[in-house]
Assembly symmetry: D2
Homo-oligomer: 448 residues x 4
Amino acid sequence: MPHPALDTGFAAIPDTLLARYRQVRHASERICAPLQTEDYVIQSMPDVSPPKWHLAHVSWFFEAFLLTPFLKGYRTPDRAYDTLFNSYYQTHGVPFPRAARGLLARPTVEQVYAYRAHIDRAMEALLGDPPAGAGDEIARRVELGLQHEQQHQELLLMDIKHIFVQNPLDPVYRRDLQVSAPGTEAPLRWQAYTSGVRSIGHDGDAFAFDCERPRHRVFVDDFRLASRPVNNGEYLAFIEDGGYRRSDLWLADGWALINQQGWQAPLYWRRDGDAWYEFTLGGLRPLDRLAPVCHLSFYEAEAYATWAGARLPSEAEWEVAAQEATARDLALGDTAGRDTPARGTSARGHFVEADCLQPMAGHAPARGPGQLFGDVWEWTGSAYRPYPGFRPLEGSLGEYNGKFMSGQMVLRGGCCVTPADHIRATYRNFFYPAMRWQFSGLRLAQEA
Amino acid sequence: MPHPALDTGFAAIPDTLLARYRQVRHASERICAPLQTEDYVIQSMPDVSPPKWHLAHVSWFFEAFLLTPFLKGYRTPDRAYDTLFNSYYQTHGVPFPRAARGLLARPTVEQVYAYRAHIDRAMEALLGDPPAGAGDEIARRVELGLQHEQQHQELLLMDIKHIFVQNPLDPVYRRDLQVSAPGTEAPLRWQAYTSGVRSIGHDGDAFAFDCERPRHRVFVDDFRLASRPVNNGEYLAFIEDGGYRRSDLWLADGWALINQQGWQAPLYWRRDGDAWYEFTLGGLRPLDRLAPVCHLSFYEAEAYATWAGARLPSEAEWEVAAQEATARDLALGDTAGRDTPARGTSARGHFVEADCLQPMAGHAPARGPGQLFGDVWEWTGSAYRPYPGFRPLEGSLGEYNGKFMSGQMVLRGGCCVTPADHIRATYRNFFYPAMRWQFSGLRLAQEA
Amino acid sequence: MPHPALDTGFAAIPDTLLARYRQVRHASERICAPLQTEDYVIQSMPDVSPPKWHLAHVSWFFEAFLLTPFLKGYRTPDRAYDTLFNSYYQTHGVPFPRAARGLLARPTVEQVYAYRAHIDRAMEALLGDPPAGAGDEIARRVELGLQHEQQHQELLLMDIKHIFVQNPLDPVYRRDLQVSAPGTEAPLRWQAYTSGVRSIGHDGDAFAFDCERPRHRVFVDDFRLASRPVNNGEYLAFIEDGGYRRSDLWLADGWALINQQGWQAPLYWRRDGDAWYEFTLGGLRPLDRLAPVCHLSFYEAEAYATWAGARLPSEAEWEVAAQEATARDLALGDTAGRDTPARGTSARGHFVEADCLQPMAGHAPARGPGQLFGDVWEWTGSAYRPYPGFRPLEGSLGEYNGKFMSGQMVLRGGCCVTPADHIRATYRNFFYPAMRWQFSGLRLAQEA
Amino acid sequence: MPHPALDTGFAAIPDTLLARYRQVRHASERICAPLQTEDYVIQSMPDVSPPKWHLAHVSWFFEAFLLTPFLKGYRTPDRAYDTLFNSYYQTHGVPFPRAARGLLARPTVEQVYAYRAHIDRAMEALLGDPPAGAGDEIARRVELGLQHEQQHQELLLMDIKHIFVQNPLDPVYRRDLQVSAPGTEAPLRWQAYTSGVRSIGHDGDAFAFDCERPRHRVFVDDFRLASRPVNNGEYLAFIEDGGYRRSDLWLADGWALINQQGWQAPLYWRRDGDAWYEFTLGGLRPLDRLAPVCHLSFYEAEAYATWAGARLPSEAEWEVAAQEATARDLALGDTAGRDTPARGTSARGHFVEADCLQPMAGHAPARGPGQLFGDVWEWTGSAYRPYPGFRPLEGSLGEYNGKFMSGQMVLRGGCCVTPADHIRATYRNFFYPAMRWQFSGLRLAQEA
């Protein structure tokens, strides 16, 4: 069985791929433009990587999986980079220890940008004149490399936020961000779905990660889904009701965690007397009670849902709802508004292009659930495990997703720092349940 | 909606319940009979509890949930026990720290047995003359208390084994255990199952834990299931093929774990030159290559399956297979042999009653998979999460199962230290993926 | 140069040595007599050893250093004991890991006592008929073995107290302890000493540990020494003055420690509203304000001294004072009272024989400092380092003291759980500055 | 009693102090000149500070202890700096957590230099026109501030070396360092000293830290001191003799440490087959067997001395020898050679001004011990404790030295990265026994 992948049908690399290569690569550098040299070096916790490491690593990905195997005569600027910028590909070599990335002053930021330029020149050469017979494989890998770089664009913004919040000087990443207009409270409605055998997961030729495949059948029982994510005001009510002090609301691991860490609110929230503030990429701001709650761990999401008499949706439920919403949007030709349609799909929402870098209160749709895409990743109740029939990519690229399929939970829908054309209804993001530096919130579900 | 539970239909407690109470309580003491006083005190790791703590805790369970609420005038021997022997019921009180159970010399073993006798006398009084109108609830809770005690019987044997293996003197728990007759190699066959919507989970009045409910529909695709668990000889071939040194076979968390811990074989295996031995409750023995491999972590089970070109079954697949096997056994009237039928079901296998306390090579069934029950718990590929519509028990008993539904994986089928009448096809056991002091092995599955 | 040691001058072992052997060995068992079997097994922290381990280890000492080398045909009951009961003699073998002593259920308490009896029989045989020419060496080693066992008698009482305090049931070791008569406040006086070159350290034939030798000259400047140890009432004033909250009083390591551990009082103190209690081997008691403060870390002792405008004495100052006090006592023939004179010296104080097992308020001497010996070990300001010309014992016994000469501080004078004939003016005890489960207090000193 | 300190006798600040201020401040910046911006940010272990933090902290010292109290109208550029750049003065405020200094991207390097310039302008103003009556105190504090900055100059070079060695790219701090001419083996001679009461410690008006005072009498017995430090070739012989595998040579804490950490050689040594290399501030170099061994922990120094049948000198012995050597040099007028005389003393040796930044083989003196000053700090056998009569400085400055007087050992003599005018015979450096990123070696001593 051939591995499901792009079948471009012709050997030359399409112009659009090169154009897309340039655009994606440029986007990474635009994200880093506001940084000072010093900001590029910091690793604020083991999960965070220094921004210059991200910039180099995504370039190394092209080197390791495209230039070295396919570009005749390619030479790396420094052979040590193959260790330094290998993230976790154990079958490729011995990666530099993750938690020590913040100990690397060198290569300097300038050298990292020179490395990027070196890679870009070589990639242009490769894409302009691919070896005979390798065009399809190259196109597939380039697409994967670009999707990979987009994931790191989101990580860059997550990590920059985490790096900046460590500093008592409260540095501001950008002062020129878009700010959402004051919304009006959108009362929470419940959308009902009826039971049946559904199909979820990706098929067809368009790009998707291996973990989204194969498309397969699942049985989904009757359920109801909230019309929007839980917002800050609602979450504050949970806090004020003693949510962080009531063991009955929490999973045992979560209860142990919040007590050990002293958590009393989402990450980035700060209390000053009766007032609540939120640290954002645009600086410290009063908490927007209508915006979706963000930077929750899975434990907090699940505790909130329990408190609210509801539960998290499964990833199948979420995907069924997203499929219907997408179909409805397409049927209605509803493409107006400032929302950005996701590439190759009609997924629409506040993504990184909205240039807010913070979740915003949405405008309630006439019917169906809103804000499924963008604003906040939505924790689902599903563990990140392989779909039936899952096959990882061949070779070292097989380490991309498959080896992380234990201990993590699936999140869906993308967020305000996700590139719009990176997301789709079948996209499976995953984090450990204790993590919350990603832009993660929740949407409630219920039995019908 | 009333909570699904026993509806005995009459207020007096049935004689059989009292008889069963006596039998189960006695079984715990029989397990501890071979111990020296000193053995009762040891906590060999935080997951293990000292045997005397188990004996007291299961008694406290009756005190806390039956005697205190229902037996008028009941007095505890020591009010501190309500803290010391509360395992994890945060809504009931503040449990004594789990990892410090091994610091408690007192109450002494003799006092713990006196506590048991005190509880037993009170329970006989309660069961003989239950308060008007409370009979059903009492019967339900007694049944839960007995099932709970049976779980701790299995834990006792797991923990005793772990306590004994710490000791360079290689103490032997029992020298009079049954030993399996030398088996013959049962070649692995694959049993095929066809796709469709199936129902899994428990319904009806018979006892089941809340996490086994409700019975619900799932879609199961075509799959194949191995006719027996993986055996020691096969697992040894994995080791000899460098299984513990090949990163490509492992989940990332597992690879980090085995390298950090230096794992090179299942727990309890020991190598002496070319010979392999296994520490058992009957002492150190040469490895039985035909017996199911045991004491594997989830990571090891999954790495083996990857190496073997297969995968772990989902818990739905496992349960579908178990339902069919049970139906077939019933149809055939196949109740001969020394296997013990599980209570209220026809689940048959080598359970604690076989008195081997070690997995044994099975006798291959004419058709269908064998050894689904007993010998070793089989790791599934499914995370332990609530079934759709799951409702925990009311009150503190709601902490029994539900709060553990993150980070753990489901195991099925019971093992050689499980009481036979404790298991059923819907039974969901769960452990963290790194744990392996339970009697855990695996069975392979494949896409059809 | 012969190692300074006992020179008994004749080959036969003196009767008194055998008598002393029996007496010391018996004392260990008398200490353990009040224990339940379960108490013998507990290791409440890595520094603590289970009582049965102490009983076995001191016996192993005779086996390893006397019976195996000198008693022809000696056979150990179990060869594994040579690993299990080797404390830290790396050149003798690989000791069982210290922190895991609490994981050893076996040998049982009964077997440990049988081991002791086995050792005692063999020792009686050896002492009754020592090999020709080895008598002196045997006598030296027996004396060392007995001194060693006396050190473990003190450790047994320290460890039993620490084991008992873990237990919320507040078990009482002994209800029949002597209790000091209510004392009267002894106002603190200062005793002046004039500067000069003094000699400290041990010489002569009487037993002393290698670390007490050689006697050597030191220059001691004018200083003043308090007439008695700091008492609980004084220490309470320090607490009430915010002593544990004022960083300026503390060594940096101490300040970090008390904040990390949350220390707010000496170990074993408990507050109940305005009342203070002390956990003792005789149970929980109201704090005796006139008794010497006990169970202080070095950091607490030094912080108190700073708060009091004084300092800790050096070990040389302490020893100079003790020499003078001893000489004075001898001159006065002052041997009345219930105090026990220390063996071979006139050191007198409340030792273990007083059977209080808790420091007591002393009776102020007419002149000179009182209570230098007994009640509480007194922290000095001196690090435990080798004396000039220090030579450790030969062979594995050289590990007895010398290898611990870093990071620890010297304490002097013995305490209420020290055998009276074990102490002398030159005796150097040592603990890490963070430790406080020993019976440690302080006495103030000042520049003259 | 007035605190021993500078008594300049007049209110105006002497020109030389301002000149010295400028020179010392400039020296810090010269040390950092070869750094890239990124290098300034790294904290390679909790003991290391990012270079920009050092540059800011030494400036803050002048702000906190001179500008804020004495310069009318002084304003800080940012009030948060008083937290960020307070190292450990708990009585001054709450210092930013030490281990998190590497998380601070801001203030940027440029801002830190601007802060330095701001401080320098204000200091010039203060020194040009000191408040009436405060001149002496200001002069004392400026001198302390400059000595403090010199200590951080040494720390800067230690930390830069440690930061650079983390990086697999093996960055070179400076390629233009002086390199010692190949020396000739100087055979080790022993210099004898006779016993007597000596005086050690500082007195007089010249600057010294509080911990060097008061000068006081000590008795020093006969001893012998090696004519030079142990060199790399000798230390290699220790390694080749199994020094790191023989428990009998080590203090217990050291043995545990080297086994836990896997130490097999000094820090910065690397083995490649049979060849040994040393990472230096000038890059990776073949090991110079004649140069003093460097980057040893106290444990390694003591193990080597034990192996060599010798011991470490006490700090009194070292100081006695240094006094005699200094007196002899003065008597001989021996000030030729390229060695730098230490300020205010005749202490001479290879200091930072020699611009090697690595210990060099010395030229054997005709008589007496050589290389007492410079090249490597020499571990002594003395714990860092207060001298009799020690009085810390008043106020927060009292935290400068006194609170570190536990758990650390004294080193003497300065090293190749110490400013020449910073050292003197009475200077007491101190580190924990496990530390070895400082330039520390050893010199042997023996009983006479």
